[in-house]
């Protein structure tokens, strides 16, 4: 087939233009390298814009007791100690610098009285820690990064007469393959969404910053882009994914109307007094306080209500339990037939705060419900239910350089990378993660390129292989409709690999995924190549399948419940299982899972915790041996 092929050469190619990708690009450019930024959609539309709450960084602007050690501790607790401790450490130490840097690029965070960056409370964070701009922090972050890229381009234009001499943004372009020369990355291959024409980047370093996998699930807060492209690219290039069983379901997504099913209702609604009730009008969260949290959460309404005004002398309302606990509770209520008409539960703030106060504190939530659902949240309760929000698992990387395990020249940062958040991510840690590891990935890639003696080359054979794959959906005879296959896939993951899992269901899921895999290999695209969503979906399907398979298989292996992984047949958390991360790899035909030993904290970090607490997470054996 004589398909048009555009060729480019760059030192570094960054796939993904969300917070992590853009931060990586800035870093690589500042190291003097040429960078291609590849966006699947338009520049500045990445899913980062959806982040509401804020970016966690222990700047101590509101409470000066805060510091990186406290932040590190909170992150480890949130992840139930399965986190890659080095990543959590780097993250806690470097977040403040990354936030301050944004200010020098024009970001305008909300301020404290002293004129510093204001910080807000959030679930799991001991002190007010989230730098924010109202409830649109993600937008601020992406816009600032986007404008930073433009600023660098303007400088290049002044200096070299060409704005795109060092950084070029390639919008609406999908990457389908990482090309290799031996064991080294030599480039990437993909197609312009607009024209369907193919494109080749020769580059010895590739940074994956493709975000999440939410589109594999039916109900998700993720946009269409969250198809796990980076996860799949890494797998196919010979890399590994770790912790894929851990998927965060945000407890409160909208369940109605259908058009916005899954869209997030920010945690702040509960933080500001919103309560969860079932169809019987009962505040059911009091029935779901786990033993380990009993000391910190109120067991009666009177005390819970007092907490909003007096946080020192009362325990927190159970609506503010960690995300996984609340999500499970809602799930149980709905399954027991006590759900709302649209299959969620009620989240009511209208009976708790005066209308004006609601509009002042939750402006974008008020608008969201008013404009999307025609519901006035100052008058009526919202209907909410769990929604697939974030995948903790991802590409296995070296913490310091973000280099992907097993593939020289491949780097990963942001949601597509795994390890940082362990089994459960704290709200606010995602935006700071993007910046900290985005920067490290950019620096890692730059150092790699500079140290490289022989530049890997792209062979015609590799091009041929990648090109054939792209044109396949058009050449298949009588293949299936990609849209219906996608729907089937989403139903399987939602029902069988969702919030609550069992061995039987997971096995069932694997059989069904196997079936779809076969049929997807025959998915057919109608029409031409130019901006054809059916064609795009046919190719994305393969990624979602690889991701779903990784999740299902890792989930089957882990016989305990921890963070974003709940097994009905193994409801308890077990320190034995903390010793392992599950790594999944692709052998060319299917996903294979391997349990890898998780490292113990080094001594200086062990000291940050009480022994009593560590006992919940580590085996006696590990503790007896002490830290690394």
């Amino acid at each position: 087939m004589s398909q048009k092929l555009d060729r480019f050469t760059y030192d570094v190619v960054v796939i993904g233009a969300g917070g992590a990708g853009l931060r990586a690009a800035v870093e690589a450019r500042q190291a003097g390298l040429s960078v291609a930024i590849i966006c699947k959609s338009l520049f500045g539309k990445a899913h980062t814009v959806m982040a509401e709450g804020g970016a966690a960084a222990a700047m101590g602007n509101v409470n000066d007791n805060d510091g990186w050690k406290v932040h590190f501790r909170d992150t480890m607790r949130g992840g139930k100690f399965l986190n890659n401790w080095r990543m959590a450490e780097l993250h806690a130490k470097e977040s403040p610098d990354r936030i301050w840097e944004l200010e020098t690029w024009g970001a305008l965070f909300d301020r404290t009285k002293e004129g510093k960056i204001s910080q807000r409370n959030f679930g799991g964070h001991e002190y007010p820690r989230l730098a924010h701009v109202g409830d649109r922090t993600g937008l601020e972050l992406i816009r600032t990064m986007q404008q930073r890229i433009v600023a660098l381009q303007q400088k290049d234009k002044k200096e070299f007469g060409d704005a795109e001499k060092f950084i070029k943004v390639f919008a609406e372009l999908t990457i389908t393959d990482i090309l290799k020369d031996g064991d080294k990355v030599s480039g990437v291959y993909g197609y312009w969404r607009e024209s369907g024409d193919e494109i080749l980047f020769e580059s010895s370093a590739v940074v994956l910053a493709t975000g999440g996998i939410g589109k594999s699930f039916k109900i998700t807060s993720n946009s269409w882009e969250g198809t796990g492209d980076g996860h799949a690219l890494a797998l196919k290039a010979g890399g590994a994914l770790i912790d894929m069983e851990f998927v965060q379901f945000h407890p409160t997504g909208m369940v109605w109307p259908p058009s916005v099913r899954g869209i997030l209702v920010t945690e702040s609604v509960r933080g500001d007094g919103g309560v969860l009730t079932n169809s019987e009008g009962r505040r059911f969260m009091f029935d779901y306080i786990p033993e380990v949290f009993k000391a910190n959460y109120a067991d009666n309404e009177a005390e819970a209500d007092r907490w909003y005004d007096d946080q020192d002398n009362n325990r927190r309302p159970p609506e503010l339990l960690p995300r996984d606990e609340v999500a499970r509770a809602i799930n149980t209520e709905v399954k027991a037939g006590r759900g709302s008409p649209q299959g969620g539960v009620f989240l009511d703030v209208s009976s708790r705060l005066p209308a004006e106060e609601i509009k002042r504190r939750l402006p974008s939530m008020w608008h969201q419900f008013k404009e999307l659902a025609d519901v006035d949240i100052t008058k009526a309760p919202m209907e909410v239910g769990p929604t697939c929000h974030y995948v903790m698992g991802g590409v296995k990387v070296d913490p310091d350089t973000a280099a992907a395990d097993g593939v020289a020249g491949l780097f990963a940062a942001g949601e597509v990378a795994g390890g940082m958040h362990g089994s459960n991510r704290l709200g606010g840690n995602s935006l700071s993660d993007l910046l900290v590891f985005g920067r490290r990935a950019g620096a890692g890639a730059a150092a790699y390129v500079k140290a490289l003696k022989n530049k890997p080359t792209v062979s015609e054979k590799e091009i041929e292989r990648a090109s054939t794959r792209i044109s396949e959906p058009f050449t298949r005879e009588g293949g299936e409709n990609p849209y219906s296959l996608h729907q089937e896939l989403q139903n399987i993951t939602q029902d069988l690999v969702g919030i609550i899992r069992t061995e039987a269901e997971l096995k069932d899921a694997m059989d069904k995924l196997e079936d779809i895999k076969k049929r997807a290999a025959n998915a057919k695209a109608e029409g031409g190549r130019a901006f054809n969503p059916g064609f795009h979906l046919a190719l994305d399907l393969e990624n979602m399948l690889l991701v779903s398979e990784s999740i299902a298989k890792s989930a089957l292996e882990r016989q305990e419940s921890r963070g974003g992984h709940t097994r009905d047949d193994f409801p308890k958390m077990d320190p034995q299982w903390r010793q392992y991360n599950h790594a999944t790899r692709w052998n060319g035909k299917k996903i294979e899972v391997e349990a890898e030993k998780a490292k113990m904290l080094p001594n200086e970090l062990v000291e940050l915790f009480e022994m009593n607490e560590l006992k919940k997470y580590y085996t006696e054996n590990e503790l007896a041996k002490g830290g690394n």
Binding site: E114, L139, V150, Q154, P258, A373
Partner: protein, 252 residues
């Protein structure tokens, strides 16, 4: 409004195109984008439409619905009359790529022409101090989701292709206002630039940009008019001009 709805969708590319009528199911609570997706999944699998977040936060699904620039994800089906035919076209101020997808690269070119934030040289990261009241004006403009509906509706370029060279458009007037009102930006001739290079004077404040803004940014009242007044300060007001020469400061 469950049941069938009639859609007239413009299909084509930059060379030619026409309306195609389709009938499609619509369920209660849906928005135009849902119905378009259903058309895509059941009748026109290659119908091109640009979208991302589906929650009015990313500004991708800009199109024209019954002749009005809208986000398809924010246009509820129950705002139409029973039996009404809903006409959907791509943005009409920009070249079309295919079907409902327009080429909005004009806006990215213009973004490149606005000088970026220039921080004070003597402040290290972490030393920035700004009061909330001083950042609020600029924060309003930073709510912009870059859907470019304001650019699309603005008659200066919508109705006059030749003005695209010299006119940056409302989206970039709020960007200039944001920076001119930024407490720490050090570039002091943004007002002159706005007038002389970016065509602020072309705007005749007919406010269509404000009307279409899905973020409800008061583009005209809070950005364009204040910028026009600031331009008068430095260009058309001899008293202020003299004052600034004597006191050696431009603006305050």
């Amino acid at each position: 409004m469950a049941g069938k709805v009639n859609l007239r969708i413009w299909r084509g590319d930059s060379k030619s195109g026409d309306f195609k009528d389709v009938q499609v199911d619509a369920n209660e609570g849906e928005v135009v984008l849902d119905v378009i997706h259903r058309v895509q999944a059941t009748q026109m699998s290659d119908l091109a439409v640009r979208w991302n977040c589906k929650a009015g936060k990313c500004g991708s699904c800009s199109m024209e619905i019954n002749g009005k620039p809208r986000l398809a994800c924010m246009t509820r089906m129950n705002t139409f009359e029973e039996g009404e035919t809903i006409t959907v076209t791509p943005l009409r101020a920009f070249p079309v790529i295919r079907d409902l997808v327009a080429d909005v690269s004009f806006n990215y070119k213009k973004a490149m022409e606005v000088p970026s934030f220039e921080p004070p040289a003597d402040l290290a990261p972490g030393e920035y101090r700004m009061q909330q009241v001083d950042v609020e004006r600029s924060q309003e403009f930073r709510k912009c989701i870059e859907c470019f509906l304001c650019q699309n509706t603005c008659h200066v370029i919508r109705d006059h292709e030749e003005n695209k060279k010299s006119f940056a458009g409302p989206r970039f007037f709020i960007r200039m206002a944001e920076l001119d009102m930024h407490p720490l930006d050090t570039i002091r001739n943004r007002k002159q630039q706005a007038q002389e290079e970016h065509g602020l004077g072309m705007c005749n404040i007919t406010k269509c940009c404000t009307e279409v803004c899905p973020e409800h940014i008061k583009i005209t009242d809070n950005a364009i008019i204040p910028m026009k007044e600031r331009v008068v300060d430095v260009k058309y007001d001899p008293v202020r001009w003299l004052g600034s020469k004597i006191r050696k400061r431009e603006g305050i």
